[in-house]
Amino acid sequence: MNYSGNILTKKRLNLEVREPLGLLAKTIILLVSVLFGLSISIFILILSGVNASDLWNEFIIYIFTSQKNLSAVLVQAVPLIIVGLSAAVAFRAKFWNIGIEGQMIFGAIAATFIATNDVGPESMRLTLMFLAAAAGGIGWIILPAIIKIRLDVNEIISTLLMNYIAFNFLLHLLYGSWRDPLTGFPNSQQYDTFENLPLIGWQSLNFSIVIALFLSAVIFWLFVFSRFGYMLRVLHSNANMAQSLGIRVGILIFLATIISGALAGICGFAVSAGIESRMTQSFFVGYGFSGILIAFLARENPIGILIVSLLFSILVIGGQSLQVFYQIPFAMVQLIQAIIVMCVAGSEFFIRYRISILKR
């Protein structure tokens, strides 16, 4: 590729597709790009008035020396893992699910409906809430899925528009008939004790971590060992070939989106019944974007998703204390996530292409 545009120049940059790099070289490029992104982020934080030594304290010392904070990281990682899985399943089917937040909202609405209307016996309540949340999430992705498969309507835009519709519907409920009758605040009434995910005996860690690990295992099995996962891999690498091989592409995409929607709905339940103990008007904020970025960074690999979610969670918990002590807006966390993903996405260029200087 001739950037100078001038044939008479002595030297020019040449760009060619490389032979696939080894794992070691790939890892080094990945690490360098993450470090590069982190240093940009640290630079921005210092510009915003944070001491460099405090950063080390907030993000490393503060988190790894106290059991309380370590458990807070694990609790925060749960919804991130689930949205990461949700995004990954959809991406495997080449369906860009940007509507995770809307599906979380409807998952939480369905779960809260079960909780506030006391549907079913108390011992079954959490199970019912879990199933309702999955159904709510599915309900909110089904339209974008159908119009994508049938009419080829761009799912990025349709799922995103559904977010805004879901958000306004949530506000309609919370400022209307679902407002907390005790406090008058615009959130749902508090769940009963048996409607919250139980603690599992270490600090604030609750049962949702078990759900998240279980779901990761299921998705891992689905991707690696099942027929479904195999067909998804074929579809992912070449849609035309999948069609010619007799794979029913439409149904495959539909199933993947349904699973993705169900996971997002379950995440809404996990946040409401695992962290907030009620449905608030902002419980979902940022999870959709984080999910997409996590799935992208982890290359849709469930084990990678666990690792990246933990790292993002450290970022979130550290960011919360920066918010308290430095009034750094929480958007900073989102910004750091975006910067790191941008650097990693950019680094793929160096994995795929070789740049050389040609002399004429």
Binding site: W96, I98, M332, Q334, M342, A345
Partner: protein, 310 residues
């Protein structure tokens, strides 16, 4: 009758940001670069416009130009990612949105621009022309950007369909190999298209704060960037159809405050859903009607590299 006059006279100022944004998107996507970062560029423009008015003083027109310019700065980054580094254009576009959301929130908080009302840009008054019943306020009672937008459309129509560089722009979105072989500079063309497109998206954002809201809060664009992307698909990347779409959405958005004013009893949040529902409906409807594929720029979303030529 009063209802109609109020409504119609408000349509242009609601339609203008859509028209400007779609214009930018069409220029960008005609060059074959899929731009899903529209919401991000709109946000950056909106914040910069408000920031200029709050921190530098009451210069509404400069504020709108700076809004466009600062969106172009983000466009530089986008161009670097998708044109030079050949990053997946979907991911790069989404990153632009996340980045802009974080960045605008951080900068506006640090600079103290949040929730500070300013006087912004008012409407023009052509004296007796504006006083003509019915037509006066609708045609002669708009702000200057509305008229500039119309001129921009006429100019862009000429530029895209009647000039050599416009032809190259369209060609590079259909068949970059051919442009390259004919001696055109694919990289440069795409980069320029991204910068110009980002500029107009930024102007659209600046219009939202400087003319419409006259205040900045986080996420003020409220998904208009995404509606703009949907409108581009509705318009099938053609300028004249995009005017129809922009005016349609201007009508709907202008109707929302009017409905409340005349006392129509509808739950508030259902009215606020309306633009998104209509967008969804329009997307379904335009895909039901016919095959969009033939109007989509052929190379849309595909990075170009000489070495990868077949």
């Amino acid at each position: 009758m009063d209802f109609l006059v109020f409504w119609l006279s408000n349509v242009p100022s609601f339609a203008a940001p859509f028209a400007l944004g779609v214009l930018g998107m069409i220029i960008c996507e005609r060059s074959g670069v899929l731009n899903l970062g529209a919401e991000g560029f709109v946000l950056v423009g909106a914040m910069s416009g408000a920031g200029v008015l709050i921190s530098l003083g009451d210069y509404p027109l400069s504020a709108i130009i700076i809004a466009g310019a600062s969106a172009s700065v983000l466009g530089l980054l986008f161009g670097f990612l998708v044109v030079l580094l050949r990053v997946n254009q979907v991911i790069a576009g989404l990153i632009m949105v996340f980045l802009a959301q974080g960045l605008t929130s951080l900068i506006s908080r640090n600079m103290g621009w949040v929730n500070k009302p300013f006087s912004g840009l008012g409407r023009l008054d052509f004296g007796f022309l504006t006083d003509i019943p019915f037509l006066g306020p609708v045609i002669f009672g708009q702000d200057i950007i509305v008229y500039i937008t119309i001129l921009l459309y006429i100019f862009s129509f000429y530029f895209i369909y009647r000039t050599n560089i416009g032809l190259q722009l369209r060609a590079v979105g259909e068949n970059p190999d051919a442009v390259d072989a004919a001696g055109g500079n694919v990289i440069l063309l795409r980069f320029m298209a991204i910068l110009i497109g980002a500029f107009f998206l930024g102007v659209a954002g600046g219009y939202l704060t400087v003319v419409v809201a006259k205040i900045w809060v986080d996420g003020i664009s409220g998904g208009r960037g995404w509606i703009i992307i949907a409108l581009v698909i509705f318009a099938r990347w053609q300028l004249w159809r995009s005017i129809v779409g922009a005016v349609l959405f201007g009508c709907i958005e202008a109707l929302i405050p009017r409905l409340a004013a005349v006392g129509v009893q509808l739950p508030q949040y259902f009215i606020l859903m309306l633009p998104y529902l209509v967008t969804l409906f329009v997307m379904i409807w335009s895909n039901l009607k016919g095959n969009n594929k033939q109007d989509t720029p052929l190379a849309l979303g595909r990075p170009y590299l000489r070495e990868e030529r077949h």
